[in-house]
């Protein structure tokens, strides 16, 4: 049975890890590629730090153990789907045990740019077994909140073309050739990812946020939600405007 209590393991305790003394907050921002997650994480971090909270942010393929290996694997053309899923799961476990849990123990607010849900969505989009990957990822901690920035594929395409000027091989799911070129493959692959994330909204308790809105409006919505989490310490948080300009992460 899947746990729903924050800072408990979903369904598999991590060997040798005690969660009884965790006290920080675990906040996840989820969403497909190019939806604007990292911009919002940077804004949230700035705001929370101004409010006096210690913040750790963590994102995919940033672990000391596997980050480099994943980057190198993606540069080649031999990374197969199950291997990729498990490599990302390794990366996640390393960050969970060595960064996230120690930070939670120390009372940090931990902001995560994509959690197990993206790993699972990618696996599902590649035709891997949903129950398999859900159980593999069962050692993840239940977050206090998951904010799902939801957009339609057409919006993602606009952001990619205007913002970056080119499609990314992996973001387009080119390893599986969903289409004859990067654009077609991107559209089909991202559509699958969004569909997979949509199915997690209820079971994983996502808060859905419409990512078609302007950046500052999304941010104010996020602030409102985060304020309700009752972050400990400096008294009630009021949503304030971050003074510095929006960081481009």
């Amino acid at each position: 049975m899947r746990n729903r209590q924050p800072l408990q393991f979903y369904n598999e305790p991590l060997a040798g890890v005690d969660v009884s003394d965790l006290q920080g907050k675990l906040i996840v921002v989820e969403g497909p590629d190019a939806v604007g997650r990292s911009t919002q994480i940077a804004l949230l971090r700035q705001w929370l730090e101004q409010e006096g909270h210690a913040v750790l942010d963590s994102g995919m393929a940033r672990s000391a153990l596997a980050g480099k290996g994943i980057q190198q694997a993606k540069e080649g053309n031999t990374l197969q789907p199950i291997t990729m899923t498990l490599f990302y799961a390794t990366d996640f476990a390393d960050r969970l045990e060595n960064e996230i849990i120690p930070a939670l123990r120390a009372g940090f607010v931990v902001l995560i740019d994509r959690y197990i849900y993206s790993i699972m969505a990618r696996a599902i989009a590649r035709g891997e077994d949903r129950r398999w990957i859900e159980q593999v990822a069962g050692f993840a901690l239940v977050p206090h909140a998951v904010y799902y920035l939801r957009a339609e594929v057409e919006q993602l395409v606009r952001r990619v073309v205007i913002g970056r000027g080119a499609f990314d091989y992996w973001e387009s799911g080119m390893d599986l050739r969903f289409g004859t070129d990067m654009y077609e493959s991107f559209v089909k692959y991202q559509r699958r990812l969004i569909k997979a994330l949509d199915t997690m909204v209820e079971p994983y308790n996502f808060t859905v946020i419409d990512a078609a809105q302007p950046i500052d409006k999304i941010f104010r919505t996020l602030q409102r939600h985060v304020s309700r989490l009752r972050l400990s310490g400096l008294g009630p948080q009021r949503p304030t405007r971050p003074r510095a300009r929006a960081a481009k992460a």
């Binding site: 060997a15 153990l65 596997a66 199950i82």
Partner: protein, 244 residues
């Protein structure tokens, strides 16, 4: 729910398991040479040998960064890469793939490290079910004698030093291998292992292995597996119908 994915390919998968010092590597090497000499296309895959994952494993071991969970997951990543990039394509092509250690190694070793039994079994559910799995059973002291006599230093993770079982490396190795041995013994029946008494002479064990291979999969070796005639040219047996 079945443990693994059934092997629906033309090729056959033969794996060996056992604790360090059980002699399984010697035996699978002899078996693969013999099968090759019989004209079969034989490939070989060793535990923890994926080029894609090698650097990461090296980093983790060198800096002693692993936890039981990341150790387990990275070895599963390594296994997945070998399976997806190497073993499955070769099985499709009709080769006999011999594997020195398979998912059972993780079942024994990771559980001995404290990882959940059900979790690690689920982790490897994508593995192809071997056609034959040999387990080289040997008493702990015999294996330890072979290992400790023949090699220089025991390695950190190999000895289970990450678990803090004992300060002395040899003592830690003894306790850790003992736990692994218990796990192997406990799963032997469930997994349908062909148990080989690894205290016997090398020749006796090898004869027994060949006998089991011929009894169990001799027919399909003749009929479906890729055959390499003496000229060196690789052709399928004429009677072969594609299984895919």
């Amino acid at each position: 729910m079945s443990l693994f994915v059934p092997n629906r390919y033309r090729g056959k998968l033969i794996v060996v398991e056992g604790i360090d010092g059980s002699g399984k590597s010697t035996q699978i090497s002899l078996l693969s040479h013999w099968l090759r000499s019989q004209g079969y296309a034989v490939a070989f895959s060793e535990w923890n040998s994926s080029p894609l994952v090698r650097q990461t494993t090296k980093r983790g071991k060198k800096k002693e960064m692993f936890t039981p969970t990341t150790f387990s997951l990275l070895h599963a990543t390594d296994f997945a890469d070998r399976l997806e990039s190497y073993i499955v394509p070769l099985l499709k092509a009709g080769a006999i793939v011999c594997a020195d250690r398979y998912a059972y190694t993780a079942f024994a070793r990771d559980v001995a490290r404290g990882v959940g039994r059900r979790w690690v079994r689920n982790l490897y559910r994508f593995a192809i079910h071997p056609n034959l799995a040999f387990y080289f059973r040997v008493p702990l002291d015999v294996a330890l004698g072979r290992i400790l006599g023949g090699r220089d230093a025991l390695k950190y993770y190999e000895a289970g030093m990450d678990l803090g079982l004992a300060r002395d490396v040899e003592e830690s190795f003894r306790i850790f291998q003992g736990r692994i041995l218990d796990e192997y013994d406990a799963m032997a029946k469930e997994m349908g292992f062909h148990i080989i008494d690894a205290t016997q002479s090398i020749e006796t064990q090898q004869l027994r292995m060949r006998e089991i291979v011929m009894n169990e999969i001799g027919e399909s070796l003749k009929n479906t597996v890729l055959h390499v005639p003496k000229t060196g040219e690789i052709v399928a047996q004429p009677s072969t119908a594609p299984v895919l």
